[in-house]
């Protein structure tokens, strides 16, 4: 009050109290157009600037780990589809690998190739969903529909193979549930050829657009140490410049047989995360192309007993999911059902780092940074 001179005119509408701004709490979500599902963010705002943020998770918690203890291994595969519904193949793959390691099952080569093809197609589809919604959060609506046009073709290919478009339930312990249909390989080759110039098209509409650069360059920087401290993985980690790619570092399945590069960023801003994913789509396309050329003939599934009982023991495997490392830890007591199953999902860690990144940025940036992390809510909540 003392900062302001007392008004001598004594007019009723001039206040002598100090005029100022104050921080306020803003509730964003769970139903908000850009929280990508049901995430709730509690923001402490100073006007448009974010002072602090607390993500509230758990709206999609379905106790999947507990459910797993009451289901046979085969029965639990459909549940994994629902962990990360945008890239369900990779979740299938993760569980099957863990159980195979536990029971020491050798997977036939053809099945491994089919798995890789499906994984990479699914990775492209998932990145397309990400790119579309990311552009949408920036206010650009058209790229979204371009992305979904190509995603449609991938879903057609997958549907042709397993009859499902979203929750595939395709992989089995020891292989895959059915062989590729005859027309799959020519169709997939066609797609691979078709998809290459499409990535350039997305880049043409976004990458060098001055508004896009203004919105993404230097926004939401995540330094490497923070990323590692929060165990951020996947494209978000690679955008910090760390060349950590599970498919290279610890090659599972038949990934060691293919040639591909690891796209990394340098500045670790939103633009880098965008670029890493764009490059990953190209690399995934390359892997599919190579796998289609070299896929061997043979069995698609190892023989397992009708009543599948893995021996006593425990196993942990991890796959490079679209969003980062996805780990499955299975403990068996020699029963048909696992004694304990622990999931490690990438989105949880990726979301946890969000408050570190958005402090001091505006609410418009929060939306973009959040989108650039590519978080899928059921993957967080499980």
């Amino acid at each position: 009050m003392s900062d302001y001179p007392k008004n001598s005119l004594n007019l009723p509408f001039i206040t002598t109290e100090k005029v100022g701004t104050e921080e306020f709490i803003l509730n964003m979500g769970p139903q908000h157009p850009s929280t990508h599902g049901v995430c709730r963010l509690i923001l402490k705002m100073d006007g448009e600037v974010i002072v602090d943020l607390v993500p509230i998770v758990g709206y999609l918690h379905r106790a999947l780990e507990k459910i797993a203890e009451n289901r046979t291994y085969l029965q639990f595969i459909p549940y994994t589809d629902r962990i990360d519904y945008v890239s369900a193949m990779l979740c299938n793959h993760g569980l099957c690998m863990a159980v195979e390691k536990l029971a020491e099952i050798e997977v036939p080569q053809r099945a491994e190739y089919i798995r890789v093809i499906m994984d990479e197609l699914n990775r492209i589809a998932s990145h397309l969903v990400w790119l579309g919604t990311f552009a949408l959060d920036l206010g650009a609506i058209t790229p979204f529909l371009y992305c979904f046009r190509e995603r449609e073709m991938i879903l057609d290919l997958i549907e042709m193979t397993c009859g499902q478009r979203m929750t595939f339930n395709y992989m089995r312990v020891g292989g895959v549930s059915r062989d590729l249909p005859g027309e799959f390989i020519p169709k997939a080759r066609e797609f691979v050829k078709y998809f290459k110039p499409r990535v350039d098209e997305y880049e043409a509409i976004l990458t060098q657009n001055p508004i896009f650069l203004g919105r993404t360059k230097g926004v939401g920087i995540l330094d490497q140490k923070t990323a590692i401290d929060y165990s951020v993985t996947g494209p978000n980690l690679r955008a910090t410049g760390l060349k950590w790619y599970l498919r290279k570092e610890e090659p599972y399945s038949v990934y060691d047989k293919f040639e591909f590069d690891i796209p990394t960023g340098t500045k670790s801003d939103t633009w880098d995360r965008y670029m890493v994913r764009i490059q990953e789509m190209r690399q995934a396309n390359r892997i599919v192309e190579q796998a289609l050329e070299s896929i061997p003939e043979g069995d698609i599934k190892a023989k397992t007993k009708a009543v599948f009982k893995p021996p006593k023991g425990e196993a942990y495997t991890r796959v490079e999911s679209t969003r980062g490392e996805m780990g499955f830890y299975v403990v068996s007591e020699g029963d048909t059902m696992p004694y304990r199953l622990k999931l490690r999902t990438a989105s949880f860690s990726n979301l946890a780092v969000l408050p570190e990144m958005v402090r001091g940025w505006k609410i418009a940036d929060l939306v973009v940074i959040f989108a650039s992390l590519d978080v899928i809510m059921p993957d967080v909540d499980r």
């Binding site: 920036l138 206010g139 058209t142 508004i211 896009f212 203004g214 418009a364 940036d365």
Partner: protein, 342 residues
């Protein structure tokens, strides 16, 4: 040949004859003709807005490799009519905690200020409601009035998202009003009149059009005008992904329809003003004047829609920087050059 002003004049003279024969004072004739003009304008705007909404959807769809509305009538032409009927039928919801008076008046303010502009838009030769001698000044003044309504909507809704939207739109419209006025001043300086009809009359030939003589002015006008009507890349007040729906988050039914209506009316307004100021208004060979006016106006609308479906959205501080650090100096430069060389 098909000049519409002759039709209106014929109707007026017929009414005048009728009134003198029946001995009714001139006052009632004026009142009736005013009412008729009002009805014609309202009807025209309604049809134009319904068309624009449909057109926008079709333009967007074809840019995005899809068809847009196809089920209702030929290429879905009835879609917006049906949507409008649906909105009118909806329950009129006023949330409990809003500032009721402000909440209810806000859409009316926006709606009326959008309509008032049409007093001096020259649709064709002789097709203007009233050629005010301060025409363009009047239009600039009235369009700014929209911001009051948006701020009222943002404040009255008693919702933080709405408030942020309202504040954003206030900041944005006030900022962009300055370069907009500067760009218009260049034209006014050359014409020497504020009257819309005089401005059009001074652009009889193609080389007289002010887009040729004032290219910078045209670009500044178009950019600032897009920001005025809150369209992408400057649509931050109602940025869906950020602010849910900005100032109209709490509005539904007819009140929402009024905001929507005003938005598209304003889109038509800025394009019509751009046509008048920079593209020679109704001038053009062979076709009737009003058809030329519409061709040019819809051309500009198409360009604005094209922006919308191509660009991402800018951030609020970038928007301000752009207005004050780039458009404003450019506007002043344009004005200075015009004053020096004209």
């Amino acid at each position: 040949m098909f000049e519409l002003d002759k039709v209106f004049k014929a109707v007026y003279f017929w009414l005048e004859g009728l009134f003198t024969r029946w001995g009714i004072p001139q006052f009632w004739l004026d009142l009736l003709s005013m009412l008729l003009v009002f009805v014609v304008i309202i009807a025209f705007i309604s049809v134009a807005v319904l068309f624009l909404v449909w057109w926008e959807r079709k333009v967007a769809a074809h840019m995005q490799v899809r068809f847009g509305p196809m089920r209702t009538g030929w290429h879905g032409w009835r879609q917006t009519v049906i949507d409008a009927i649906k909105l009118i039928q909806k329950e009129d919801i006023v949330p409990l905690k809003v500032d009721r008076a402000v909440f209810v008046i806000a859409p009316i303010v926006v709606f009326v200020s959008a309509l008032l502009v049409y007093v001096c838009i020259p649709f064709g030769r002789g097709l203007i409601v009233r050629d005010l001698n301060i025409g363009i000044l009047y239009i600039l003044a009235i369009t700014t009035f929209t911001v009051v309504g948006l701020l009222m909507a943002g404040w009255g809704s008693n919702n933080k998202w709405s408030l942020l939207g309202g504040l954003r739109s206030a900041a944005q419209i006030v900022s962009y009003e300055v370069p907009l006025t500067l760009s218009v001043l260049g034209v006014v300086l050359l014409v020497g009149s504020l009257s819309m009809v005089e401005i059009v009359k001074s652009q009889a030939h193609f080389w007289d059009w002010y887009i040729v003589r004032q290219p910078i002015g045209f670009l500044v006008y178009l950019t600032a005008a897009i920001a005025e009507v809150n369209r992408t890349p400057f649509d931050i007040p109602e940025a869906e992904q950020e602010l849910v729906a900005g100032y109209n988050t709490e509005y539904s039914g007819m009140k929402f329809a009024m905001f929507f209506f005003a938005e598209f009316t304003n889109l038509f307004t800025i394009s019509a003003v751009a046509t008048t100021l920079f593209l020679g208004g109704w001038h053009g060979p062979w076709l009737p004047s009003w058809i030329w006016f519409f061709i040019k106006t819809f051309g500009i609308i198409l360009v604005i829609m094209w922006f919308k479906w191509t660009y991402p959205r800018v951030r609020v501080d970038q928007l301000m920087d752009f207005a004050w650090k780039f458009l404003l100096p450019l506007g002043f430069l344009n004005l200075m050059l015009t004053a020096l060389f004209a």
